[in-house]
């Protein structure tokens, strides 16, 4: 039976995330220039303003060892998988690949693309502050963005005007607001959409043309606002951690032995991607972009406040806990990730103090569903006070 209404839109989002090359090629067929980006610190607005569609490079979930001949074993599977994609030619349709200096592992994936996968002449590494909470960081970012804009103008052979940038900022801010609105549904007891469905839409937005995505999101939200809630949310689980583009993990959280619902994801493939806005209407658009991107929920790899060594990200996590009221927290990170597990060491005591049970899930390209289910079931049992 053909799905209708919001289900059809969600299904479309899901299809796009599972078939990113097919979608990208459809854009290419329309004559669009495509730029792949490996880290959410790339200012997509500059690309978009130049008429280039930024598409995030995600993993293929293919268990492979060939990249061990390029990158050391003990780099995260996300970076290995992204490197593999490049070596396999899966992204050969891209006109450009961009990253910003962020974590070392994704940097190596980028290096593999540049050195060994034929992207030497169509790549750009943006210098980006590693500590974003300093005054000089904003100025540095603005200068970096200016250099990037120049590069993009050379590539497209046309200038990127302030109006182009302002328009792009508006489109992207609109996308951010729409995604925020979507996640806000999950604050309620009877949301008309599930967490995994919202996760799918969020992931899709990172691999779609933003205008098209905004159109679909707007329609979806209108339908959801008119729709009755699905079910009373059972045990509410919040995820916080690193990149995870495996929607199966989020599906699993709602297929446990007990009723549980995924109600929020703080990761760079979810909330950290969009939970900020770039100031609009500013005379200096690049500075506005810098201000906006500094205001993102910090990636652990960039998060240390000078003077105190505080992690600003934790303020966001605590706010999300207050707003979304999870019953349990799942710390999620890729195996061999460096900054995420280090943050957990400091974040877990805070979550403990708030009286919220938690568990840690270490991801790899392959995941043993039974193992993860058992771990999550155990968390729910602790939450519910279930005794055997």
């Amino acid at each position: 039976m053909e799905k209708k209404g919001s289900d059809a839109i969600i299904e479309r989002f899901r299809h796009i995330t599972e078939n990113t090359p097919e979608y990208a090629r459809s854009l290419k067929a329309k004559g669009r220039l495509l730029a792949g980006y490996m880290c959410t610190h790339v200012p997509e607005e500059i690309l978009y303003a130049a008429g280039i569609v930024p598409l995030r490079i995600l993993t293929s979930h293919e268990s492979q060892a060939m990249t061990r001949g390029y990158i050391h074993e003990t780099y995260c599977s996300f970076s290995h998988d992204c490197a593999y994609q490049g070596l396999q030619g899966n992204y050969d349709y891209l006109d450009l690949v961009v990253t910003s200096s962020s974590c070392i592992h994704m940097g190596e994936a980028f290096n593999v693309w540049v050195r060994f996968a034929g992207f030497q002449d169509r790549s750009y590494l943006m210098q980006y502050p590693h500590i974003i909470h300093t005054k000089p960081a904003g100025g540095f970012m603005t200068e970096s963005f200016a250099q990037f804009k120049e590069f993009v103008e050379k590539l497209t052979k046309k200038p990127v005007t302030d109006n182009d940038l302002e328009d792009a900022i508006k489109v992207y801010n609109h996308n951010r607001r729409l995604l925020k609105r979507l996640w806000e549904f999950l604050r309620h007891d009877k949301p008309p959409i599930t967490g995994p469905e919202v996760a799918a839409a969020t992931l899709a937005s990172q691999v779609m043309d933003k205008q098209e995505c905004n159109g679909m999101l707007k329609q979806l939200i209108e339908r959801l606002e008119a729709a009755p809630g699905k079910a009373t949310l059972a045990v509410r689980l919040m995820v916080t951690g690193g990149a995870c583009d495996d929607l199966g993990i989020f599906d699993l959280m709602e297929q446990l032995s007990y009723d549980a619902s995924l109600i929020f994801i703080d990761s760079c493939t979810a909330a950290r991607y969009f939970w900020f806005e770039v100031p609009e209407g500013r005379p200096d658009k690049l500075m506005a972009l810098a201000e906006g991107y500094i205001g993102k929920i910090p990636c652990p790899a960039k998060d240390t406040v000078p003077g105190t060594g505080e992690k600003k990200r934790f303020r966001f996590v605590q706010q999300f806990i207050e707003d979304f009221k999870p019953d349990g927290v799942v710390f999620l990170y890729q195996r061999f990730c460096s900054p995420q597990p280090m943050d957990v060491v400091a974040l877990k005591p805070i979550v403990d103090k708030l009286g919220i049970p938690s568990t840690e899930l270490e991801l790899d390209t392959t995941v043993q569903k039974a193992h993860i289910r058992a771990q999550l079931d155990a968390l729910v049992e602790v939450i519910k006070g279930v005794t055997p």
């Binding site: 060994f116 003077g307 280090m342």
Partner: protein, 438 residues
């Protein structure tokens, strides 16, 4: 006959004194942090500043009291740090957890000496977390981290130099506020000049290994570079390296070496892993194979000409240049300091695969290497693992190249039998290459 370095005693004393001063200080300021950050700003706070750097401390403590340090690492893991985390970091945090500190004179003191400030940098995605964790466990120690950015040719990029300089400037203001001390530009400038001088002098000493026989081997280089990593801002550290440079120059003039039987010259990319390294060194030494150049000992706390006309060179900088530097204002001193640290080979290589590749190529050529030994450290994210697997692809058809897995200070992560077999294999390849078989 093998030459004995006479300056060695002073080097060791200096290292021990630095650590003792930190450990037992009853007055002054204890400053903890990364030795990859510029140290001179700390010395602007007075003449009673005691410095400890996380990386050299972890490395030297592990070599001095290995059993103790294994306990530190395990304590850190029990405290929540992951198996895959940097073992230097775990050792250091483990000491905080166990409330003990061990130093190079074999002292293991109960009661972890709390620092007054943490002054560090953001070297990699783990390093950024290192002192946050230390500060947190000590109940919150004021902490300032400088984002050095790094990358190829970074010291020639005005945008980067300006960014780093601004952070140092703001850092100095912060140091004054937090310590309540007035910053002395006079002391600061003196420390800057000393810091730059030591880095240049060490580069000069390393560059002498281009001669044949190389006067120093890796074992001696590791033993001689502590003053440069522990505290390179003092008059004493400058004097030690001026003396050492004279001594090593004399060795070159007379054709002497600490390891005179050098049949094979090796370039080594890897950290000086404390455990297992002596075994590898023995296998190499038995056939007269010596590491004459290494990114670790040369490129951390050493400066060279770097990228000249688009190509890397390990040629040294004339020390006289340092005396002529215009450090007449705080800003000028900060700028020169930023440039010299950005000019470290390791700061360049950590963020730039092409810079790492270029400096490896230059090292192999300029030091006339017979083999390239790559030893990526499993828990490291900097120049001591990053890019090494790819480097095999580049060098394997040019020069005998072997890679083995290791770790800085965690013996559990080392594949000692595998590393031994690969070192033997490496020797065999170099022999075959020399005979014309390869």
């Amino acid at each position: 006959m093998a030459y004995n370095i006479t300056t060695w005693g002073e080097v060791k004393n200096y290292q021990n004194n630095c650590y003792r001063n930190y450990l037992y200080a009853s007055d002054g300021l204890r400053c903890m942090g990364s030795t990859w950050s510029p140290l001179a700003p700390l010395k602007g706070l007075g003449e009673d500043i005691h410095v400890i750097g996380g990386e050299p401390h972890s490395a030297s403590a592990a070599g001095t009291v290995p059993a103790e340090c294994r306990e530190d690492i395990i304590a850190a893991e029990t405290g929540g740090l992951g198996f895959h985390s940097c073992s230097y970091l775990k050792l250091f945090v483990g000491e905080v957890i166990r409330d003990k500190m061990a130093i190079t004179d074999k002292t293991i003191k109960d009661g972890y000496p709390r620092p007054d400030v943490i002054w560090t940098t953001h070297l990699c995605s783990q390093h950024s977390k290192w002192y946050q964790e230390v500060s947190r466990r000590l109940g919150g120690v004021p902490m300032y981290a400088i984002d050095m950015i790094g990358g190829g040719n970074a010291e020639k990029d005005p945008k980067i130099v300006n960014y780093v300089s601004k952070q140092i400037e703001a850092g100095i203001e912060w140091l004054q506020r937090v310590t309540g001390r007035e910053f002395s530009d006079e002391l600061f400038v003196k420390a800057v000049r000393n810091e730059i001088k030591v880095l240049v002098l060490w580069g000069n000493i390393c560059a002498l290994n281009m001669h044949s026989p190389a006067p120093l081997d890796e074992r001696r280089l590791i033993a001689l570079f502590p003053p440069a990593v522990v505290d390179r801002t003092t008059d004493e550290s400058v004097r030690i390296y001026e003396t050492l440079l004279k001594e090593v120059k004399h060795m070159v003039d007379t054709g002497e070496s600490v390891a005179p039987d050098q049949r094979f010259r090796i370039v080594y990319f890897g950290i000086a892993h404390t455990y297992g390294h002596p075994e590898m060194a023995r296998i190499l030494r038995d056939v007269g194979a010596e590491i004459v150049a290494s990114v670790y000992t040369f490129g951390t706390c050493g400066n060279f000409k770097g990228i000249v006309n688009g190509k890397w060179t390990w040629e040294p900088i004339d020390p006289a240049w340092v005396d002529e530097l215009d450090l007449s204002t705080r800003r000028k001193a900060i700028t020169e300091l930023a440039k010299i640290v950005l000019g470290w080979p390791t700061w360049q290589g950590v963020r730039s695969y092409w810079a790492l590749e270029e400096m490896a190529k230059a090292m192999v050529t300029e030091y006339r290497a017979d083999g390239l030994l790559l030893a990526p450290s499993r828990s490291c994210e900097t120049d001591f693992r990053n890019g090494y697997i790819a480097m095999q692809r580049i060098f394997k058809n040019q020069i005998p190249t072997v890679e083995y897995d290791t770790d800085q200070v965690d013996v559990r992560k080392m594949d000692l039998p595998g590393a031994q077999r690969k070192t033997e294999l490496f020797v065999h390849l170099m022999e075959a290459h020399k005979k014309g078989g390869a």
